[in-house]
Homo-oligomer: 658 residues x 2
């Protein structure tokens, strides 16, 4: 006899309330409310194999409402993943438990992405569904044929990023994406009426989605709705009407069940209500067995898939290469480009240098999928090899993301975590603010996403302070596990691209200029990536060294000019270019102190906040930068006005030396 | 004979194309496309008085598509504002011209807010419309009765923040808000079809908006649509079907006219097409006169309004007090609170201390309007005096913003810039990322907005790395004109609130703990706001001073414990609390070097990134902090794991001294 869906769902409810109680912290309301929906999804629809969470053609399941983490921990445990163990679940939210407060992809196989920051899970799922369609177009139905499922709450739908994400999904007709909305009409502050009067289903319909509704506690109705979603070619939203904290008789349906333990008395009452007699963390054998069957039901599909993969060696090689690290291809792809730069030195904006590097890179590396948030011609992100991704051609490798910075960044995270693609995307550096948490999430999730952030200083000129980054480069440097590159010329730009492509677990930012910059590395060769150490001596002092000028990006040229003036006055000055702080930090103390010695005046020059440069210049060094907002004017006027010229810097250095 | 609407509009077109051409930079497409709509708006609907741009009861006009800045410069100039002059317009986008690349409220009266970052203008307009309804409810129809008008482009509507902003407007039935959408079907990358398939009108309707359409080049149809909007009690979207760059015969309707000068030949062709014979920057006298009439048409309404205001002295005083700086009231309001804290010292989380300070503050200062992005109980932002703002009670002073951080922050900017209210709003500190550009825009626009950002470190515990700020406090410190406060106990929290309320042109961030902190300032009194200097010596060394421990917020307690251990080993150690870097920077060199002397080992302790602390500790100092992502665990385990305990810090100090 088949075990009743409700009994399976109650196993989730029991684990959720017990784990939250044991931790004295967490969110029981959502797992208890959505247990029935999740059970049906896992039982009848999700294609996966708990024995191999890395199977490429598995369905992706994203718990966008990440605070309900016990839902996915229970699902993984019950359906037979080797982790989390019941011990892990007992240690929910304790140090080193893989059952962290919110689901973390780097802690637990089966967790496709890290969620908690609301709205981003769904937006990452859009990226996963885009990656699936792309790889399907390239490798065929028999190798790539999976779906993306999302459980999302009201918070995920109310966040602005939801508008951006569903707009992309609607435009690209991502029919294999299904969102199960936990329509419980409760937010932390109370009833949803307090904060919204929107007709969510009508909004999704207006955005090109198929919309269904169901009773989220009626397995038959849930099945009907999901089947209807599968039958429609559009992405689907299923409004699952649920009661938050379902099963807790005195607390369900209210906002107090959202984010706090139920307490011993209510848990006892819930056990009675649910007919659940087992002790905490104990799953009755029949229910455990039924859940194992759920987990095994589609495992044989992986074997069949592998047989298809093995049938053609050349095709298999090509397929597996799609998922291999791309770093090794980058250097060789850039050899001719760097040689050409050196052979015919020209002044080029680094955004343009980036485009020139991207040409051979996107040619050589089919995994690269580019795009821009409606600034293609300004970010210089499109190449010949990257034609438009669209429902008419999912094989295309260039995404017109529209004016959706946050949606773009989260979609790129989803693509990267899906695997098989290395996404890069552009906007203006100042608008990294619009997607900053997604950049952070790239770093936290160890997703190889490359952000092409152009117009990186007052050097953009007339657009003025709303568009001129001041604090952005430095504040991005503060995000852990993010490499921030600010190249000084066309050669460094190519080098930084090669480095960004070589870190499969670290995302990168390339901060690039609008304005032209001269070629400084006139002796460059592709075999000698000097940016790899993060900083290097570009010019050594002629006279006795008293000063070291350290600069990044467009200000390296100014540092070189400043050094020339100093040398003409008998003051020896090194010029150090520092395209990447994070890589410089990783060098030996000897290397670092050779570049930035204690016995010289260290002067930093960067067209942004000086706060942070004290790390390199010391307390007695001189930090030349901009600690106020920019202004609207032509570039030459601005560099003069903000004191970023050799003429204005030299006297300050002379004063400091005096 | 009345001058034809089209002739008036062509004056805008001519100024736009001439100014962009002279600057060789800018965006002619939008001003030329929307000139007819803007002319009708100014001619028939906008209540304003060019002779007094500060008139409180004027309509607010927001150019959300700020790149089309020449539209508003032309409108202000033509309708008779004393600035910009025609010389200012000739100097469009030049250093020190008030006609900056994007409209800047701090440069030009008549510009209600600074726009350019897409989507935010419309969202600020929502805040302005909320402030209007609130002040209307408090002061009556005869003193507060104005509308808010927005011109927005496709970019403003595609950004995620649009979803948040229109959700707030729909919920709160802001019927005096009208958005004129420049429906030109072009974005920078090309046709809107490239990046969106959304039915925008249906989406707005789903969100509680009234929707109209019109031919944006047919004045009669524009008038009809606006009249329909005025007749509807909901906020209105009017889709104005326009041709971008209207009048430039060879370039109009395409994306190349969006953001580049037309060029001399096309300008000549456009003059012919438009029948515009005047030389560049010259407005024919009849048209200039007709525009002046437009500007004067409703000036007499200000006189009538002033007569109503003057009719009742007590009422007038009360009304004008609403618009006065609130700083002076803050200190006195907190006296009893601080005395009570000292009389009965308790361990209190600073988020709770903040609530305790807010009690008397919101009681004493009716201008304060609070709120939270669905974290009311966590941010502790609601007080007895602040009842819910809603269509049923616009006099309410607490906004349930919903899960809309960016929308909340932008709405608060709009409220503050509207005047008469001082908004504060809460979310978790980590989600400052979601509204970071709006925080920046508070600072750039000199808007007094107070951000209550709680759960300010790993100290929040089990929610883990997605919720634990690491880089956030430091990276907020880098935003110019933003005061970042991180108070160490209940007294400092009250002091920081008083300081935040006293800077009408500077926004503030309060970074507050989830966890309890002991009272450190046991000798406090309201007359001695020690946080006002940004940093102060909390504990002076007993033994000979070798160490200065400088800390903020929750780590000041740890610094005090560390100092006690050091003193017990004969190592003298000061403890400096530094709740606000920006205020400390403003102190004299003597004050700063007395606190942080060169002859001591300076040790910073802060549960966040160490990058930046080198500014205060020097190259040989010791920075104790966290330069990686957090983890999910109970707070005590985390502080131990990340080395933020006296036991783990003391040996590092001893080693550094050795």
């Amino acid at each position: 006899m088949q075990t009743d869906d409700r009994q399976l769902a109650n196993a989730i409810r029991a684990l959720a309330m017990d784990a939250v109680e044991a931790a004295n912290s967490g969110h029981p309301g959502m797992p208890m409310g959505m247990a029935d929906v999740a059970t049906v999804l896992y039982r009848d629809f999700l294609k996966h194999n708990p024995a191999d969470p890395t199977w490429i053609d598995r369905d992706r399941f994203v718990l966008s409402a990440g605070h309900g983490s016990m839902l996915i921990y229970a699902l993984l445990h019950l359906s037979g993943y080797s982790n989390p163990t019941i011990e892990d679940i007992r240690n929910f939210r304790q140090l080193h438990s893989p059952c962290a407060g919110h689901p973390e992809n780097f802690e637990l196989p089966g967790v496709e992405c890290t969620t908690g920051p609301l709205g981003q899970g769904l937006a990452m799922a859009v990226g996963m569904a885009m990656a699936e369609r792309h790889l399907n177009a390239v490798h065929g139905d028999d190798l790539v044929d999976h779906r993306t499922w999302v459980i999302a709450g009201d918070g995920c739908l109310m966040e602005g990023i939801n508008h951006e994400a569903i707009g992309l999904a609607g435009l690209h007709k991502l029919g294999r994406l299904t969102v199960l909305w936990d329509d419980n009409r409760i937010t932390i502050d109370g009833d949803t009426d307090l904060s919204t009067s929107e007709d969510i289903k009508a909004r999704y319909a207006a955005t090109g989605w198929h919309v269904e509704s169901c009773d989220g506690h009626d397995p038959a109705d849930i099945r009907r709705a999901i089947h209807a979603a599968l039958a429609d070619s559009r992405p689907s939203l299923i409004a699952c009407r649920t009661i938050i904290g379902f099963g807790a008789p005195n607390k369900q349906g209210g906002h107090n069940v959202h984010g706090a333990p139920l307490g011993a008395a209510e848990i006892e009452a819930a056990r009675k209500e649910l007919g659940w007699d087992a002790a905490p963390f104990v799953i009755p054998q029949d229910i455990a067995a039924a859940w194992r069957e759920v987990g095994k039901a589609r495992a044989d599909e992986q074997a069949a898939w592998e047989a298809r993969l093995d049938a053609d060696t050349a095709r298999k090689d090509s397929f597996l290469k799609q998922f291999a690290p791309v770093g090794p291809q980058a250097g060789p792809a850039l050899e001719a480009h760097i040689a050409a730069l050196v052979a015919d030195p020209k002044a080029i904006a680094t955004r343009k240098s980036s485009e020139m590097a991207l040409g051979p890179l996107t040619e050589a590396i089919p995994q690269m999928i580019g795009g821009s948030a409606d600034l293609t011609g300004s970010n210089n992100t499109k190449t010949k090899a990257t034609t438009a991704f669209s429902p008419d051609d999912y094989a295309g490798r260039y995404v017109y993301y529209g004016i959706r910075e946050f949606g773009m960044a989260a979609a790129m995270n989803g693509m990267a975590l899906h695997g098989g693609v290395v996404p890069y995307g552009g906007t203006f550096l100042v608008f990294s603010d619009y997607c900053r948490n997604a950049i952070r999430m790239s770093a936290l999730q160890r997703a190889q996403v490359i952000y092409v952030l152009t117009h990186d200083s007052i050097g953009l000129g007339e657009d003025g302070p709303t568009h001129q980054p001041i604090e952005h480069v430095m504040s991005l440097r503060m995000i852990p596990n993010l490499n921030v590159y600010r190249p000084a010329d066309a050669v460094e730009t190519a080098e930084c691209w090669a480095l960004a492509l070589a870190t499969p677990e670290t995302p990168s930012v390339l901060a690039l200029t609008r304005q032209n910059l001269p070629l400084l590395r006139t002796d460059a060769s592709a075999s000698d990536n000097r940016s790899a150490k993060g900083a290097y001596r570009l010019v050594a002092a002629s006279a006795q060294r008293k000063v070291v000028l350290v600069a990044t990006g467009s200000e390296v040229e100014i540092a070189a000019k400043t050094a020339a003036v100093l040398e003409s006055r008998g003051i020896g000055a090194d010029v150090v270019s520092m395209p990447c702080w994070e890589l410089f930090d990783a060098q030996s103390e000897a290397y670092r102190s050779d570049l930035l010695p204690e016995n010289a005046l260290i002067v930093s020059i960067e067209a942004g906040t000086t706060l942070g440069w004290q790390k390199h210049i010391g307390r007695n060094g001189l930090a030349i930068g901009i600690d106020r907002f920019g202004a609207s004017a032509p570039i030459a006027a601005l560099y003069d006005y903000f004191g970023l010229t050799a003429e204005k810097i030299v006297p300050q250095i002379e004063a400091a030396l005096a």
